[in-house]
């Protein structure tokens, strides 16, 4: 079953939060929704979680019991222990054999020694892992995770991506938002949002190949409006192409596409 949205538009008050978004979420695939602050990532994920009414378009979503959702910054009920949080999910979702599976997930993510620790006493990364485990435990058909890796260390980020891959391998459609473009390359499909509209979409390699023009690496940019810092040097987008082009990362492609969109051209 392929979940998703088609021609989606969402208005929040006077502002157009999302416009003309089409996204398929097939079973077994991890889809990354990326974009800058205010791009519309959380709005799209709240629609996918069934928490927000679309103004326009069609949504294909499973029933409530088949959606696993982790809101941004959430990570379990703070006054419950890790084990109690998972017991609550198992009880609400009526999972008869949840303990064994919960134990396996805790072991896999390094949370097993902290079963009796209150969620409020966990580090940020541990809480995020707990939140993802809570969303994954019922084995939902659609797993929606809003920036689960924001603000946590690389090791924990790797653990979380491993959890998402496991959920997809079990047949879940996974939609995850992230502000980190480097990690979005781990997804099988990327949707890049810009000002509430789709900027780029496709497998990471295809998105990278869609770069209009080329990207060069320079010490002093010729056109500062088309340049961005990358380590100690600058990268600059050249719409007409350049023989000195470097292999662009997803981040470069997204920035170049945003510049192209701002300039009025299609990415």
């Amino acid at each position: 079953m392929t979940w998703g949205v088609e021609g989606l538009g969402v208005s929040l008050g006077q502002s157009q939060a999302l416009d003309d978004i089409t996204l398929d979420l097939p079973a077994g695939r991890v889809t990354a929704v990326v974009g800058g602050d205010g791009a519309g990532k959380t709005t799209l994920l709240r629609v996918l979680a069934g928490l927000l009414l679309p103004t326009r378009g069609v949504t294909r979503l499973p029933e409530r019991a088949q959606v696993g959702y982790l809101p941004a910054r959430a990570g379990g009920f703070r006054d419950l222990t890790v084990a109690e949080n998972l017991e609550f999910v198992a009880s609400v979702c009526r999972l008869p054999d949840a303990k064994r599976q919960a134990d396996a997930l805790l072991e896999r993510t390094g949370l097993a020694p902290f079963r009796r620790r209150l969620a409020r006493d966990l580090s940020g990364g541990m809480r995020q892992k707990l939140g993802v485990i809570m969303a994954v435990l019922p084995e939902p058909a659609l797993l929606v995770l809003d920036e689960p890796t924001t603000g946590i260390d690389p090791g924990s980020r790797a653990d979380l991506w491993h959890l998402m891959a496991l959920a997809a391998a079990r047949g879940a459609a996974v939609a995850v938002s992230s502000a980190y473009l480097d990690e979005a390359e781990r997804a099988a499909w990327v949707l890049v949002l810009h000002d509430g509209r789709p900027l780029l979409a496709g497998p990471p390699d295809r998105v990278k190949a869609s770069l209009p023009g080329s990207v060069v690496e320079v010490d002093v940019p010729a056109d500062p409006a088309r340049a961005w810092r990358r380590g100690p040097r600058w990268r600059e987008w050249r719409p007409g192409g350049d023989p000195a082009a470097v292999e662009p990362g997803l981040e470069d492609v997204v920035i170049a596409a945003a510049l192209a969109a701002a300039a009025g051209g299609e990415p």
């Binding site: 629609v47 069934g50 928490l51 927000l52 679309p54 979503l61 959606v67 959702y69 609400v92």
Partner: protein
């Protein structure tokens, strides 16, 4: 420093609730202390019973406001009128002329006693004065039952609203919204622990009040429990309602203070309703605590039967129902937005 002051002013201007609190509270206190904070009673509802009731009623000076004249009544009938709160003073117009004063109405009783002493010389006959229900006119006896209501109000509004708002702030309310729980499961599950804690609190305060302050309990435990049950539902509903109007715990506390202050000031707990001008008194009749205090003082001090408490019970039930319906509707909107149903419909159509 100028930049700091300007920043604070800008923030304050946009923080409408704090601004409202800063402006409304002084205004409320001014109104309360200007118009409401009166311990002197200008009119005391009075009943006169007995064979010479008509004649005696004509002789009674102010502040006795004769509302009932019953020539066939006797002392027992007079006591019953006080027990049912139909009057604060009952005069038995038979020799010896007896004035019965409802001691649960502390300030009215004190005013009545003072007025009687001042006007004894004007009356042609000897009379006796008896204070019923609270013969020593003890403040604790009158205040302790009302304080039960105040404590329950604090628990219901502040603790409940904070508990719900904290979930919203941490994003766990949205986690609940997506779980296979019906909105009513979440609402009832959320309120039940606070309700039970409220019941426990009520039991502890009541026991402490009875034991430590020698407050009498003359009525029916069942009537008291019924009133407390409905009142608890009303204050919990106010707490949930506040939580649906607040994004942060700070906002919830501000709103809770705004709802608690008028309840404490205008419910009759401190200042008698009979001394309030109607321009303010109507607010009292919109507050659940007003009716709970009438029930609890009646049951504790006077043994008022349920059939004499029909009005406060009915008002409390209506207020509780109104507040709970509003709270549940707003809470449901948070948990199950219309979008979910339309999405499902769209899915079915596709």
């Amino acid at each position: 420093m100028r930049a700091m002051v300007r920043k604070e002013f800008r923030q304050l201007r946009r923080d409408r609730r704090t601004l409202a609190l800063m402006i409304m509270v002084p205004l409320l206190l001014l109104v309360v202390f200007g118009y409401v904070a009166r311990f002197d009673i200008r009119q005391i509802p009075t009943a006169v019973v007995g064979a010479r009731a008509e004649a005696v009623a004509d002789l009674l000076p102010e502040p006795f406001d004769v509302r009932i004249i019953d020539a066939t009544g006797d002392r027992a009938a007079a006591e019953e009128l006080l027990r049912r709160s139909r009057a604060i003073i009952a005069v038995v117009a038979e020799p010896p002329l007896t004035i019965l004063i409802d001691g649960s109405e502390l300030f009215a009783a004190q005013s009545a006693r003072a007025a009687r002493l001042g006007s004894t010389a004007g009356l042609p006959i000897d009379l006796e004065v008896e204070i019923l229900f609270n013969p020593e006119l003890s403040t604790a006896v009158v205040m302790v039952p009302a304080i039960i209501g105040m404590v329950l109000t604090a628990i219901g509004t502040v603790i409940t609203s904070l508990g719900v708002v904290r979930e919203r702030q941490e994003g766990t309310l949205e986690q609940l919204a997506v779980m296979p729980l019906r909105p009513r499961d979440v609402i009832v599950g959320k309120i039940t622990p606070y309700f039970l804690v409220g019941v426990l609190d009520m039991a502890v305060i009541t026991a402490a009040g009875l034991l430590l302050f020698n407050v009498p309990f003359r009525g029916s435990w069942l009537v008291f429990a019924g009133g407390a049950f409905i009142f608890l539902l009303a204050v919990l509903g106010i707490g949930v309602l506040i939580s649906t109007l607040s994004q942060t715990q700070g906002e919830a506390i501000q709103l809770a203070i705004m709802t608690m202050l008028p309840q404490i000031m205008l419910s009759g707990m401190i200042f008698p309703l009979t001394s309030m001008p109607w321009g303010v008194r109507w607010i009292s009749y919109l507050l659940p605590l007003t009716y709970f205090i009438q029930i609890v003082r009646g049951v504790f001090l006077k043994g008022t039967p349920i059939d004499a408490l029909g009005v406060p019970f009915l008002a409390l039930i209506l207020l509780a129902a109104l507040v709970l319906i509003l709270a549940v509707l707003r809470f449901r909107r948070d948990l199950a937005p219309a979008g979910r149903k339309q999405s499902t419909a769209a899915e079915a159509a596709s």
